[in-house]
């Protein structure tokens, strides 16, 4: 549907890319990255609002790199929505259809569908768009973007100014739109929860480069670089050495921590690597309960050194008895209530082997080198 090849763009001193990306028809891709990572610049370059310094953009097999924005059949929902204050709600929604001179009967039928889908019947006859609430403005802007039947819908942090309840309703609506209207969506956000809830595929952008692109579970559980791991709030990260490559391919690691981890191609004794595990993947072993075969390795005795409360979850900071390392363990409130831990309590943890991710340090060096080149 859309393919980006070696795309490079610049705004002031900031350089984006080179970026390669493939997006299939009807898919939903979220580009996740911190503020200032180049997400909006990437969208603007793909939409033709900014001329790239290099690379190409293809839509449906056609090279559109030098084609005007209005000929790309992309609709755009920017962060500030950019509703037209000089037009009524109806004329805002109909703006694209009028400019493209679409068939009136088709437009009317599609308008009716969109009014149903986005629950806009009550406000369609409002004269002044400034009287709409935040959520209503969002739905009007979405209807305006969808009415001309775009091939692609680009969303740039569209929900960042909304309260949590309305945001959730609109996120659910977006999933419906993606399925019902068969529109391909490229959604840029810095909100990790939103990115994982909506994107079938996720691309992580840091410092103007796509650091990892893949299905949401892969991004979540198997970060490809330390930058990605840190951005995705992986708290438990350790630098270790391969002590032995075991016959089954897994690795015996040592240094500040002795761990068994999944192997990787070309693993050799003496290799340095970074190992991590998400705090919600750390298992607390209950005393006097049998331990399953999956939890036989990587068992540690620890002491609770702190407890952090985050609304629906608690994070136990557990200092391992065998080293100076502290492991974060995330527990839902109900589990925390059952276990009843307080600071100073002893517990046993398992850093489950299959939940560990590993990044050979050689890959860090390669990534860092690429980043330095870029600068």
């Amino acid at each position: 549907m859309i393919r980006v090849e070696q795309l490079i763009a610049r705004r002031g001193d900031f350089r984006l890319g080179p970026i390669d990306l493939d997006l299939c028809s009807s898919s939903y891709l979220t580009i996740l990255g911190p503020s200032g990572s180049g997400k909006t610049l990437f969208l603007e370059t793909c939409m033709g609002l900014i001329a790239p310094e290099g690379g190409r953009v293809w839509h449906g097999g056609q090279d559109v790199t030098r084609i005007a924005p209005e000929q790309r059949h992309i609709s755009y929902l920017p962060q500030d929505l950019a509703l037209f204050p000089h037009l009524t709600v109806r004329n805002n929604i109909l703006f694209g259809a009028k400019r493209r001179q679409l068939n009136e009967a088709d437009v009317n039928s599609r308008l009716t569908n969109l009014l149903d889908l986005l629950e806009l019947h009550a406000i369609i006859d409002r004269k002044d768009v400034s009287t709409l609430s935040g959520g209503e403005k969002q739905r009007v802007a979405l209807a305006r973007a969808l009415l001309p039947e775009p091939r692609l819908l680009f969303l740039d942090e569209p929900f960042s100014a909304l309260d949590a309840t309305i945001k959730r309703q609109l996120q659910v609506k977006l999933r419906e739109i993606n399925r019902q209207l068969d529109v391909t969506i490229l959604h840029v956000t810095h909100d990790q929860e939103e990115a994982f809830m909506l994107g079938e595929q996720i691309a992580v952008m840091i410092d103007g480069r796509l650091r990892q692109v893949g299905p949401r579970d892969e991004i979540y559980y198997r970060p490809a670089s330390l930058d990605v791991a840190r951005f995705l709030r992986n708290q438990n990260i350790f630098d270790l050495t391969v002590e032995e490559v075991l016959p089954n391919g897994s690795l015996q690691l040592g240094d500040s921590l002795c761990l068994k981890s999944p192997g990787y191609a070309e693993a050799q004794e003496g290799h340095r690597l970074t190992v991590g595990i998400r705090s919600e993947e750390v298992v607390i072993i209950r005393p006097n309960k049998p331990i399953g075969p999956e939890l036989q390795d990587n068992l540690f005795h620890a002491t609770v050194s702190d407890i952090l409360v985050f609304g629906g979850t608690h994070t136990l900071c557990a200092k391992l008895d065998s080293s100076n390392i502290t492991v974060d363990v995330e527990l839902p409130n109900c589990a925390m209530r059952d276990l009843g831990y307080t600071v100073g309590d002893a517990l046993q943890l398992c850093l489950r082997k299959r939940s560990l991710w590993t990044i050979p340090l050689i890959e860090h060096a390669a990534l860092k080198g690429a980043h330095d080149d870029q600068l």
Binding site: E44, M47, L49, A68, P69, E70, R72, I74, S75, Y76, P78, D80, A82, F84, P85, H86, F95, G96, R99, R100, R144, A145, P148
Partner: protein, 261 residues
């Protein structure tokens, strides 16, 4: 605390009261010389009618041309990046800082160049002609129009133009369907203020087109002529007409700006 607030308010309000009083003094000081019968009689004098008509026509023409050129120029300065933009942006302000007499001199000298002679060959003669009045007024007011319109276009959210492009508008379409409607109040205010500045223009007009009665004498130059001949009834009549026009314009601008809010 309350006492300090009161002192603060008085400190701010007192200069305002003094200024208002001063302007009222300027306006009503004429009342001693104003006579309704004289005023009506003067208004029927052909040279006064001619001065009013000439001023209205010249100000409308010069501000019209100025706005027509200022809209695209201001948009270019507000939105388009090009080499030498900062230099041009500063250079275009020149007529605002130069005294109108100096500007008039520059206009006359420029008509003495090859380019000026070529324009004169097409019938564009400046001394003692309506064209001279219009060119002088245009030169003085065009920079003001550009400056005001640039500020107006900068206030239009560029995202709205971008969204319009993606919804199917060409660059011209986005300008006409989105930018101009969104900038309409600012454009209207610029038109009114440009026109007001043009109708009050004196220095460059006198320098370029002279003050020939019935030909190039505008309201301001007629006031100067009447006052220099100590013809007070005529001076007061012309001043009252100019004040009337100026007040109409100022209230017009205020009405436009309040609608904008």
């Amino acid at each position: 605390m309350l006492q300090r607030d009161t002192v603060f308010r008085i400190t701010m309000l007192l200069p305002l009261v003094i200024l208002t009083g001063y302007f009222l003094l300027l306006v009503f000081s004429q009342s001693a010389y104003f006579n309704a019968a004289d005023f009506i009689r003067q208004l029927s004098q052909p040279d006064i009618v001619s001065a009013i008509t000439l001023s209205l026509i010249a100000a409308t023409a010069s501000s019209g041309v100025a706005i027509a050129l200022a809209i695209p120029s201001a948009y270019a300065l507000a939105r388009i990046d090009f080499p030498g933009k900062r230099l041009i942006d500063t250079f275009i302000d020149l007529p605002m800082v130069l005294t109108p007499i100096a500007l008039g001199t520059l206009i006359l000298m420029s008509w003495n160049t090859e380019f000026g002679r070529m324009l004169a060959g097409f019938g564009l003669t400046l001394p003692f002609t309506m064209t001279g009045v219009i060119v002088a007024q245009f030169t003085v007011v065009v920079a003001i129009s550009v400056r005001m319109l640039k500020a107006t276009f900068e206030q239009v959210n560029p995202r709205q133009e971008q969204v319009a492009r993606l919804l199917g508008c060409s660059a011209f379409g986005s300008f006409f369907y989105v930018t101009l409607p969104l900038a309409r109040h600012g454009i209207l205010a610029a038109i009114i203020l440009t026109w007001a500045r043009a109708i009050g223009e004196f220095g460059a007009t006198v320098m370029v087109a002279g003050t020939a009665k019935g030909q190039t004498a505008t309201l301001p130059s007629s006031i100067y002529l009447a006052m220099s001949m100590a013809d007070l009834p005529r001076t007061v009549t012309l001043v009252v007409v100019l004040i009337g026009i100026s007040l109409l314009v100022l209230f017009g601008v205020r009405a436009v700006l309040e609608r904008r809010r």
